[in-house]
């Protein structure tokens, strides 16, 4: 199956929640205010509750409780609140597919792991726009979900191959002559109206070298390195069972030294301990 065919199928995918689309739009509007964003989120009361829960989670560790969404937007920023809304949406759409063959909880854990790792990576390398890194990390493997949605058989074949040969998902796709999931992620995200930075970062996360000309080559490299570390510490499940490769190109581009990475890994483990709230979004929503 070719990328185009899959994309064609992606087109058939239900468009993201209109409220989520609006949230993305408002957060990208240069003239939007905190109230604008809060007003959109408020349109979905369940979303509002879940977003506020995440705002007050240990991951952000704010010194006091935030009760108002507009306040949350001002204090945590537009992008962060947008990310939280997107997280809730992504989680919900993942969990909605109850009859799937894949373990969505484990995959979700991987998504959150890379989101947290990417945001931390931005801090490590001194990249100011760290919220975009969070969302790029969150959605980098969304292509796997798309693939599974379009063809559960193909997904199962890839998953089997990576398990038996101890190779990465990316290599297994190549062996099966399938378009790689990173590119599918990119195509999926483009449809969501997220900034180009996010879609490109996801599209190149397995092949940062081939994106060296991209405007976002540094962001792509950050996602790549973060994904590698989350995989090596077995946080969640990415359906890759080996063959993780850390690109020297990415390390050089970001100026990362071994000692920095050791320090990063230690901080990452600490940070992930505070991210539990992200793993149980649904439970809260049910209540």
């Amino acid at each position: 199956m070719k990328l185009e065919e899959i994309i064609a199928k992606v087109e058939e995918l239900p468009t993201p929640d209109p409220i989520v689309q609006k949230i993305i739009a408002v957060a990208s509007d240069p003239n939007a205010s905190a109230k604008d964003l809060a007003d959109v989120i408020k349109l979905d009361p369940s979303l509002s509750v879940r977003v506020l829960r995440l705002v007050n989670s240990a991951y952000y560790g704010l010194p006091r409780k935030i009760a108002q969404l507009s306040e949350a937007v001002m204090i945590l920023g537009f992008k962060t609140v947008r990310n939280l809304a997107l997280s809730v949406f992504t989680y919900s759409s993942l969990m909605r597919r109850k009859r799937s063959t894949i373990d969505h909880t484990a995959l979700w854990k991987h998504f959150i792991g890379v989101a947290v790792a990417s945001e931390l990576m931005a801090q490590l390398v001194g990249y100011p726009n760290k919220e975009e890194l969070f969302v790029a990390g969150l959605l980098h493997d969304i292509g796997k979900v798309t693939l599974e949605f379009v063809s559960p058989e193909m997904f199962a074949a890839v998953a089997k191959l990576t398990k038996t040969l101890k190779i990465s998902f990316f290599e297994a796709e190549k062996k099966l002559n399938l378009p790689n999931h990173a590119l599918i992620s990119m195509k999926t995200i483009e449809r969501w109206g997220l900034p180009e930075l996010v879609s490109q970062a996801c599209g190149g996360h397995h092949t940062p070298e081939s994106f060296s000309e991209s405007l976002y080559s540094d962001v792509i490299s950050m996602i790549h390195v973060s994904d590698f570390f989350v995989n090596t510490i077995n946080y969640g499940e990415s359906y890759s069972y080996g063959g993780f490769v850390l690109s020297p190109y990415a390390l050089n581009l970001l100026g990362l030294k071994p000692r920095m990475l050791t320090n990063y890994l230690k901080k990452l483990k600490e940070k992930l301990m505070t991210a539990d709230e992200f793993l149980k979004i649904e439970q809260e929503a049910v209540s």
Partner: protein, 514 residues
């Protein structure tokens, strides 16, 4: 809700007035404004030569974007560093939020009593260098927030560089102070210290060296020594004499920033040399005292022994024996007298108190007479005395003193004859040359090694102290002779070869004949 209503930028009112249809145009104006602000900011941070100026520039740019009533910049320990627009209170809640911003590196707009406190971290690669707080009645829109955040990041990068630069400057100042301190210490050294590079140029010199004024000769020897040290790579030493001063020079290879250099230390050892000389004289004096005591004791012992014998056993001796005894006593007392006279002369000469009594006399006759007086000594050593000059040579001088000189030279010739040699002699030749007279006293005795040719004329010096203890004498003879000759305006010197013989030359002016 109208989108325009939520705008809180400076164009707020304008937009309201113009209505929704101009939004596209507004964005254009906004980006135009943004670029000019960016340009101003870049210009300002370029010109910031110290952290303070940079923070001023950052505060100004904030004020242009957001209408702020107060701006406060905190340093990395969150202490207030700069305030613009009057003092403001940072309460407990705000303080907590500031800490959160500093640790999470995320900017924040905190609604507070009808106002907003916009808090921006100044972060460089994971390190918080400070926090900026701006109090405003305005809310910030997405774009402004992103921009200000970027400015804060940019400022942090420049700020860190400036702080590094300042600390570098401080280090440089400390280094400079240390250098001056070391220079002062080195300047206080009595030694002349200098460091040379491979082209023999001075790269360091202490005050002692800078102020020194060595002659060309010494300087060229110093340069040679330095070059030799570079060539051999090992420590070199040298002693030089300039005027009345002695210098000890030590050149040592050193390294500076991978380049070989030579450290030169010049010490003035004149005083050390003087001390050494005085010590030598002191040693000679000690030897002299021991010597002279022995010299005095020998005749005294003889006198005492013979006198005692006569006293105790006067009746037991016949006339002839008594006469013999008294003769010995007389002779020995004469010897004693001559030694004491010598000492007296020496002390007079030393104190420049000797006055010459000049008269005209025949030098040949004087020498002949003197030979006769030492004949007995010569016989005892089997030394033949020969006077090669027969004709009289008139000279005006102190006869008694000249006789003293001749006596000394003759007795030296006899005393230092080779013991087991045949045909031992002491020959005297007198020669008139214009207005000067040259007396040559030569022998075929033991001779004097070359290094002592000058020293034998120095006070207390006896080659014998070094070579031969069998010969008696005070060691003052030649010293006195030299001083007498020089007092007459003459010269005395010698030529000698060990084992062959010695010739002493005495040159005297004929003196007041005309």
């Amino acid at each position: 809700m109208e989108k325009g209503e939520s705008l809180k930028t400076g164009y707020n009112t304008k937009e309201k007035a113009l209505g929704g249809e101009v939004r596209g145009m507004l964005n254009q104006i906004s980006s135009h404004r943004l670029y000019s602000l960016l340009s101003s900011f870049i210009r300002e941070i370029m010109n910031a030569t110290e952290p303070d100026l940079l923070l001023d520039a950052l505060m100004r740019i904030f004020q242009r974007f957001v209408d702020c009533e107060h701006i406060v910049v905190l340093d990395k320990d969150l202490n207030v560093k700069k305030i613009k627009g009057g003092n403001v209170e940072i309460d407990e809640e705000l303080n907590k939020m500031v800490r959160w911003v500093a640790s999470s590196h995320s900017p924040m707009s905190l609604p507070k009593q009808e106002m907003f406190v916009h808090i921006f971290p100044l972060v460089k690669a994971g390190k918080t260098l400070g926090v900026l707080l701006a109090w405003s009645r305005e809310e910030i829109v997405v774009e402004t927030s992103e921009l200000l955040r970027t400015f804060a990041f940019l400022s942090a990068v420049v700020l860190e560089n400036l702080e590094l630069y300042s600390s570098l400057q401080r280090q440089h100042m400390v280094l400079e102070a240390t250098k001056n301190y070391m220079q002062r210490i080195l300047d206080s050294f009595p030694q002349h210290i200098a460091v040379f590079d491979q082209d023999s140029r001075i790269v360091f010199a202490n005050k002692g060296y800078s102020l020194s004024s060595f002659g060309e000769d010494v300087v060229s020897r110093i340069i040679q020594l330095v070059q030799k040290t570079f060539l051999t790579g090992s420590r070199q030493t040298l002693e030089v004499e300039e005027g009345a001063n002695f210098y000890s020079i030590v050149a040592e290879p050193v390294e500076y920033e991978g380049q070989p250099q030579v450290l030169l230390v010049i010490t003035d050892v004149t005083n050390t040399k003087e001390v050494e000389r005085l010590k030598a004289i002191d040693q000679l004096k000690t030897e002299f005292v021991a010597n002279i005591s022995h010299e005095l004791k020998t005749p005294l012992a003889a006198i005492k022994a013979y006198a005692e014998t006569i006293l105790t056993s006067f009746e037991m001796f016949d006339q002839q024996t008594l006469n013999e005894f008294v003769q010995i006593i007389y002779k020995e007392s004469q010897h004693l007298e001559s030694i004491l006279e010598g000492l007296l002369d020496f002390s007079k000469l030393e104190q420049k108190m000797l006055i010459l009594e000049k008269a005209t006399f025949d030098l040949t006759g004087l020498v002949r007479e003197t030979m006769r007086s030492v004949e007995e000594l010569a016989k005892s050593k089997q030394v033949k005395l020969e006077l090669l000059t027969k004709e009289p040579v008139l000279i005006r001088a102190d006869q008694r003193r000249i006789r003293q000189v001749i006596t000394n030279l003759l007795s030296n010739g006899i005393k230092y004859s080779k013991e087991d040699s045949q045909e031992k002699y002491v020959r005297v030749k007198i020669e008139r040359k214009d207005d000067r007279v040259l007396i040559e006293v030569s022998d075929n005795g033991i001779g004097i090694p070359k290094e002592y040719h000058e020293k034998v004329f120095e006070r207390f010096f006896r080659v014998g102290t070094v070579m031969d203890h069998r010969v008696e004498g005070t060691g003052l003879g030649l010293t006195i002779a030299k001083q007498i000759v020089e007092l007459h305006g003459g010269r005395i010197w010698l030529e000698s070869e060990p084992g062959v013989g010695t010739t002493v030359f005495v040159e005297l002016p004929v003196g007041g004949e005309r």
